[in-house]
């Protein structure tokens, strides 16, 4: 085994894994607070990619403004979804909310087809992001270096928000018990809204990074990342933010290594992710970092 070749595969795996990690953070945070698997997370990602696309191409905005706009609009969309599809179901059995989430997901996909059209669109990528750097025979794009950085920064920011701020304390209280939190003077509706806004903003950043890494967008683009990142979140311990990052990285590296070293199984790459999901649920339902049940966010 050539060492440079191995490190190239590893670099590819980290690059893919950091994208999974980035998207899984938002997934796991929303679950941690609300015990709700937000199946529309992947579709919010798609929406944000389209907002960036239209912002830059149709309205000719500078790329940084499009990015800011995409994060804000996707966050607003997430808040709207929570109001319309989840809040009315807050006192219903959990399964109803789950089904509502699946409905929202289908709704966004089909809305995407109607509004944006079924044909794929190419995303413009600033040249400095696509530049390739060669380190000892290993080719890495600047974007592949940027994404893990963004992931880690967001991870730190989110940890700070949840564990070091008053709002974070309120979020953790809500995640334990709505009624008791309300008795303590916490505005539960506001906190849940805030959770969705944060989660959706994270999905937006994930969507933008995804669209830059794989510069082709269509209305179904969020489906697979959504499912894969759900697996990553469960693998790492759903509700646990560092766990989601770890799960994302391991899933990405695992997938790349599977395709690289057992090429005959390349067609089962998605199956690999779901086998991990099943095994995790069977043998370690709390995930890799999930033992701190009480600390769950």
């Amino acid at each position: 085994m050539d060492l440079a070749l191995f490190f190239q595969h590893l670099a590819n795996g980290i690059s893919l894994g950091s994208l999974y990690a980035l998207i899984a953070i938002g997934y796991t945070m929303v679950y941690g607070i609300l015990r709700l698997i937000n199946f529309a997370h992947g579709d919010l990602l798609m929406m944000s990619a389209y907002i960036v696309f239209y912002g830059m191409l149709v309205f000719a905005l500078p790329w940084w403004l499009s990015v800011v706009l995409a994060v804000l609009l996707t966050a607003a969309l997430g808040m709207g979804i929570e109001r319309a599809a989840y809040r009315p179901l807050r006192d219903s059995p959990r399964i109803s909310v789950l089904i509502s989430a699946i409905g929202v997901s289908f709704f966004l996909q089909n809305l995407g087809i109607v509004v944006f059209g079924g044909r794929a669109k190419a995303v413009y990528r600033p040249a400095w992001l696509a530049a390739t750097i060669d380190i000892g025979g290993v080719s890495i794009t600047t974007l592949a270096l940027l994404i893990p950085g963004v992931t880690l920064i967001l991870l730190l920011m989110l940890s700070h928000l949840v564990y070091r701020t008053k709002t974070g304390m309120a979020m953790r209280a809500v995640s334990r018990d709505y009624d008791t939190a309300r008795l303590m003077g916490i505005d539960v509706d506001r906190i849940i809204s805030f959770t969705f806004v944060t989660g959706s903003a994270l999905a937006a950043v994930g969507g933008i990074m995804w669209a830059l890494r794989y510069p082709q967008i269509h209305p179904m683009i969020g489906v697979m990342p959504g499912l894969k990142c759900f697996v990553a979140a469960v693998f790492g311990g759903i509700g646990n933010i560092p766990g989601a990052v770890l799960g994302g990285f391991l899933l990405g590296i695992g997938e790349i290594m599977l395709v690289a070293f057992i090429p005959n199984l390349a067609g089962y790459r998605d199956a690999f992710a779901f086998v991990i999901l099943i095994l995790t649920l069977l043998f370690r339902p709390t995930g890799l970092l999930g033992e701190k049940m009480a600390e769950k966010v």
């Binding site: 050539d2 070749l5 190239q8 595969h9 590819n12 690059s15 893919l16 599809a85 009315p88 179901l89 006192d91 219903s92 109803s96 089904i99 509502s100 409905g103 929202v104 289908f106 709704f107 089909n110 809305l111 087809i113 109607v114 059209g117 079924g118 044909r119 794929a120 669109k121 190419a122 696509a130 390739t132 060669d134 080719s139 794009t141 794989y214 510069p215 082709q216 269509h218 209305p219 179904m220 489906v223 697979m224 997938e255 790349i256 290594m257 599977l258 395709v259 690289a260 090429p263 005959n264 390349a266 067609g267 089962y268 790459r269 998605d270």
Partner: protein
């Protein structure tokens, strides 16, 4: 009260999802009124999903043909479009819907061999003839007396590209990367392999056949293997979107070798998504407006440009031809009964189509030339025509 609201909300969401899902189908809902003086022809093409561009280009050609030639046997021809969503199950459903709901007498479709192979048996069982525009896998028509096509098939296409790689590029070794879930890609990859081994005279000239799965967007693992194997060319039959992403990632990994592909690469998206990276990519396809084979072909190029404001492409041309072949069959049969249309289609001989002269053989396949295109300065440029 809460529960009631829950139910209503769920119902609204579900209904909304279904309504939007059905939006591609303008005829959805309500029973069809079948009248005697209208000839109903169904179209099932991918209007959404991975092959949306191919289906939409084909549909433009079919619509143009219908606009220019709206009547046969003194009756109006009406088209019914069903979106097969680039999905095998949806394709079978679409054919079923065209026959059972829209009561069509003949069907056109589909871009993508996998979808055609899913739709074919349904039409065969119901005895409705189908004319494919661009499904090139031999299995589409094999053993199905009701399936015809106006394009060449992949044993020829694979050979054309193998010959190009060997003779024009002087390649001695190649790697194939294919979408393992796509019948078109797997078939075309195999035919390329056979022909390339024959040309080079060496079993080892194909260094590796690498797979990916439908929906994959990250090809870095396969491409790193390619880089390590260092072949002279890479043959990558797959959808325009997958391949464009793949070639981009290949260039990022420092792979300089030429990429070759098949007719599915011919879509504006290939160049839009691929950008600089796909410059120099070479593909085989059915037709180029730069090399018109027949008189009607030149007329088509003009009319197409007037209507859509852009250059014609192979899929629009094949869509046009598929419609015209059906009209010709109905005229010769003197009847719009499915069985009569089928028999007349099977007897199609020397039909002057936009993409060439069409004679359908005992399998229902056409034997036609292929053109080779190269991406040059962000455009598909005509290189040469290869005759069978």
């Amino acid at each position: 009260m809460r529960n009631k609201r829950t139910m209503i909300l769920l119902a609204v969401l579900l209904v909304a999802a279904f309504v939007f899902a059905g939006c591609g189908d303008k005829e959805a809902g309500g029973e069809e009124e079948v009248t005697e003086d209208v000839i109903r022809i169904g179209v099932y093409e991918p209007m959404t999903g991975d092959s949306a561009a191919g289906g939409q280009m084909t549909w433009e050609g079919i619509q143009l043909a219908n606009e220019l030639y709206p009547e046969v046997l003194g009756k109006q021809v009406r088209l019914f479009l069903e979106d097969n969503k680039t999905d095998k199950v949806e394709a079978a459903n679409a054919v079923n819907r065209l026959i059972e709901h829209h009561k069509v007498v003949a069907i056109i479709g589909s871009y993508g061999s996998s979808m055609s192979m899913a739709g074919g048996p349904v039409a065969q069982e119901k005895g409705i003839p189908v004319v494919g525009c661009s499904p090139t896998n031999p299995l589409v028509t094999l053993g199905n007396d009701y399936y015809f096509r106006v394009c060449f098939i992949d044993p020829f296409q694979g050979r054309v590209m193998a010959q190009y790689a060997f003779e024009s590029l002087g390649a001695e070794t190649a790697v194939i990367i294919r979408n393992v879930a796509d019948d078109y890609a797997v078939g075309l990859g195999n035919y390329f392999q056979e022909a390339f081994v024959e040309f080079t005279g060496s079993e080892d000239s194909i260094l590796s056949v690498l797979d990916y799965q439908k929906g994959d967007q990250d090809f870095t693992a396969q491409l790193t293997t390619v880089k390590n194997l260092n072949p002279d060319v890479v043959f990558a039959p797959g959808s325009y979107g997958d391949s464009a992403l793949m070639i981009r990632q290949a260039r990022e990994l420092g792979i300089q070798q030429p990429f070759l592909g098949g007719d599915t690469w011919e879509a504006p998206e290939f160049i839009e998504v691929g950008g600089e990276a796909v410059e120099g990519a070479v593909l085989s396809t059915h037709y180029s407006p730069e090399a018109t084979p027949t008189a009607i072909s030149e007329e088509f190029v003009q009319v197409y440009k007037e209507k859509f404001g852009k250059e014609a492409n192979a899929f629009a041309a094949l869509g046009f031809d598929a419609y015209m072949v059906i009209l010709d069959a109905i005229e010769r049969a003197g009847s719009a009964e499915p069985q009569a249309i089928r028999d007349a289609l099977a007897a199609t001989e020397n039909f002057q189509g936009v993409t060439g002269i069409i004679t359908l053989d005992e399998n229902g396949d056409a034997t036609k030339s292929a053109v080779i295109l190269k991406v040059d300065n962000g455009e598909f440029r005509y290189l040469t025509t290869v005759n069978p």
